[in-house]
């Protein structure tokens, strides 16, 4: 049973063994068919593994949705220097809590996926960059890695294939920005977690300047199924452009929040009203943030026909991100919540680009003023202007993440801002 709720509409591939403590152990995982895909991958050979993952259409689950197989194919074919596989487990986008579940319920699924991925890109060193706060979770993962070594799935000459792989569990220091792939690499080199200018892309010059691939926990955990069952089986779920299933992290004002694994393209309102048990008694929907706090807010109208695929959410006016669905009912004080999200980005800005460093702090200050009833109507224009200058002007997209909630909320909930400015009155917040 998934934790803490489950639903009959779920299609559980990744989360099939959530809630089964034995699945955390090597024996338990093998009893569930684990590690059988390794020999298959070694027989297929690197190119075919990459082709299969490409054919599956698996898109990166860390937010950007870049096709995983294509990313792997950017790695040099001729290996002349060390290659690295980096698993991004620095889960910290507000609203996202899926990787923690994958790490603590099915650590061997991730390790199996990492072995296949590392084999495909010829990496003999791999790191799992876990967010530092996951003390408990990383203990489970570290034990699983240890067991995989003991069983010969890691180390030298894995299953007689001649392929060597070392996995190291690495803990971050508490910085949201390290979830950005180039910041992650800097952090893993023992530097401040500041994003790098691209190009060069990680596949050319990544960790320690060597060819590297960064994949999210959920992406890598999806790989064993694709190798075991084939790309076509994987494509049975989801849409043409967004194949497969996805863990949807639902939080906020629903009766049954949690992680639900559903085919991509699942209708948003069905997720809220059916799978998550709907809103609390007597409440109506105000808005939804469909992909974590850095994507635009959808109002209730836009939610009505929204399908939860990468393309479907764009059509509705936002982005799927990591499918972190934050549901807000009519009690929500939009001004306060937007201020809180912007405060987060102001805190987490690494400070290297001026528009982000100055803009995020400035934006928070104005929002705080409005929230306290000391704002002016001109402040709204200033907010739009400042955040517009934060879009596309910086090394990474943290800056754009400030603009998304601010601009979308001013456009869609202007009345709430104006009420706060004119009368100091909170709309919602009951």
């Amino acid at each position: 049973m998934a934790y803490p709720y489950t639903h009959e509409k779920e299609v559980r591939i990744l989360s099939k063994h959530f809630g089964e403590p034995e699945a955390r152990t090597l024996d338990g995982w093998k009893a569930r068919g684990g590690y059988r895909t390794l020999n298959r991958a070694f027989e297929m050979g690197r190119d075919k593994v990459i082709e299969e993952v490409k054919a599956s259409g698996l898109r990166g689950r860390g937010g950007a949705g870049f096709p995983a197989g294509v990313k792997w194919s950017f790695m040099p074919k001729e290996k002349t220097r060390p290659h690295y596989l980096l698993c991004n487990a620095d889960e910290s986008e507000p609203g996202t809590f899926k990787d923690r579940e994958l790490l603590r319920w099915t650590p061997h699924q991730l390790i199996e996926g990492m072995i296949i991925a590392a084999y495909a890109i010829q990496a003999e060193q791999a790191y799992v960059y876990c967010r530092g706060e996951f003390f408990e979770t990383t203990q489970i993962l570290a034990r699983a890695v240890e067991e995989a070594y003991e069983a010969g799935y890691l180390g030298q000459d894995i299953l007689g294939s001649g392929f060597n792989l070392d996995i190291t569990v690495h803990c971050g220091g508490g910085a949201y920005i390290c979830g950005e792939e180039t910041a992650l690499m800097n952090s893993l080199e023992g530097r401040r977690g500041t994003p790098r200018v691209k190009p060069p892309f990680p596949a050319q010059a990544g960790y320690m300047g060597m060819p590297s691939t960064v994949n999210n926990v959920e992406t890598l955990s999806s790989v064993p199924f694709i190798i075991a069952e084939g790309a076509e089986a994987y494509r049975k779920n989801g849409t043409q452009e967004s194949p497969g299933t996805k863990l949807f992290c639902v939080s906020g004002h629903v009766r049954k929040p949690g992680n639900y694994e559903l085919p991509l393209g699942f209708p948003l309102m069905e997720l809220i009203n059916d799978v998550c048990g709907g809103l609390k008694e007597g409440r109506t929907l105000k808005g939804v943030i469909p992909g974590g706090s850095s994507v635009p807010i959808l109002n209730a109208e836009e939610c009505a026909d929204c399908e939860l695929s990468f393309e479907g959410v764009i059509k509705a006016g936002s982005q799927l991100g990591c499918a972190s669905v934050i549901v807000m009912d009519d009690s929500t004080d939009i001004v306060k919540e937007v201020r809180r999200m912007v405060g987060f980005y102001a805190h987490e800005s690494c400070g290297q680009c001026t528009p982000c460093r100055e803009g995020s702090a400035w934006t928070e200050k104005i929002l705080r003023r409005i929230e306290d009833g000391r704002g002016t109507e001109e402040d709204l224009d200033t907010l739009v202007e400042v955040t517009s200058q934060m879009e596309g002007t910086t090394i990474c997209v943290l800056s754009d993440s400030v603009a998304a909630p601010v601009k979308s909320s001013i456009r869609k909930f202007r009345g709430e801002y104006l009420a706060r400015i004119r009368t100091g009155e909170k709309v919602g917040a009951a």
Partner: protein, 220 residues
């Protein structure tokens, strides 16, 4: 040594209490895994994953001797150069001493052959390295969007009121430091609170006195 194992009680508002879920809290948390690694770090692959926030903090503890030296040597083998081992090394220093003082940073710098200024620059970038001493229990309350929607601010206020502290201050008895945390990645179980190494889920203001009482009992 292992603090997680010393906590005998459940989280009062634990997310598993939904009536639809049959596992115990210990099973969900994987209590049998937590705190099982030997101080020397076990297998090198996990040597840098070990650091805890321990209740027992000794700001004068010798760094990197005995088992800790062994663990450092192991984790050092997992990185291509000394610089890359900086974060886990800082974490280990904090595990022993409770925070990383400028003096501790200098010691880490010497150990890794980095300049003290460089180590300070890196250590101050990351929020998890406490730059000053914290209480026996570091209480981090998430007030980011998902928790905020479900009353995170009230939980934070309850912790501050019940410990009689201001944000970031340590209570007079040295037991509690309450801080506001950014998203802890357990958004479906609001409000999420991290106390030392452990996550508490679905915490409401009325749970707070009980949690504090239990921590106090354990802190004696």
């Amino acid at each position: 040594m292992s603090e997680a194992r010393k906590i005998p009680f459940n989280n009062p508002g634990w997310a598993g209490n939904t009536g639809e879920f049959s596992l115990t809290e210990a099973e969900v948390r994987g209590d049998e895994y937590v705190g099982r690694r030997p101080p020397a770090g076990g297998h090198p692959s996990g040597a840098s994953s070990y650091p805890y926030m321990l209740a027992e903090k000794d700001p004068d503890a010798p760094l990197f001797e005995g088992a800790y030296r062994e663990r450092f040597d192991k984790l050092r083998t997992r990185y291509p150069d000394a610089r890359s081992a900086l974060l886990p090394t800082l974490a280990m220093a904090q595990e022993l001493r409770g925070y990383v003082s400028p003096g501790t940073m200098d010691e880490v710098a010497a150990l890794l052959d980095l300049s003290p200024a460089y180590v300070r620059g890196v250590a101050t970038f990351y929020t998890m390295y406490n730059k000053r001493p914290v209480g026996r229990f570091l209480i981090q309350v998430c007030t980011n969007i998902s928790c905020s929607l479900c009353g995170g601010d009230d939980v934070l206020r309850a912790f501050l009121n019940n410990t009689g502290t201001e944000l970031g201050e340590t209570s007079e008895d040295g037991l509690f430091t309450v801080v506001e945390a950014e998203c802890l990645a357990a958004c479906g179980f609001p409000t999420t609170v991290q106390i030392n190494s452990r996550y508490y889920e679905n915490v409401t203001p009325k749970d707070v006195p009980e949690i504090l009482e239990r921590l106090k009992a354990q802190g004696e």
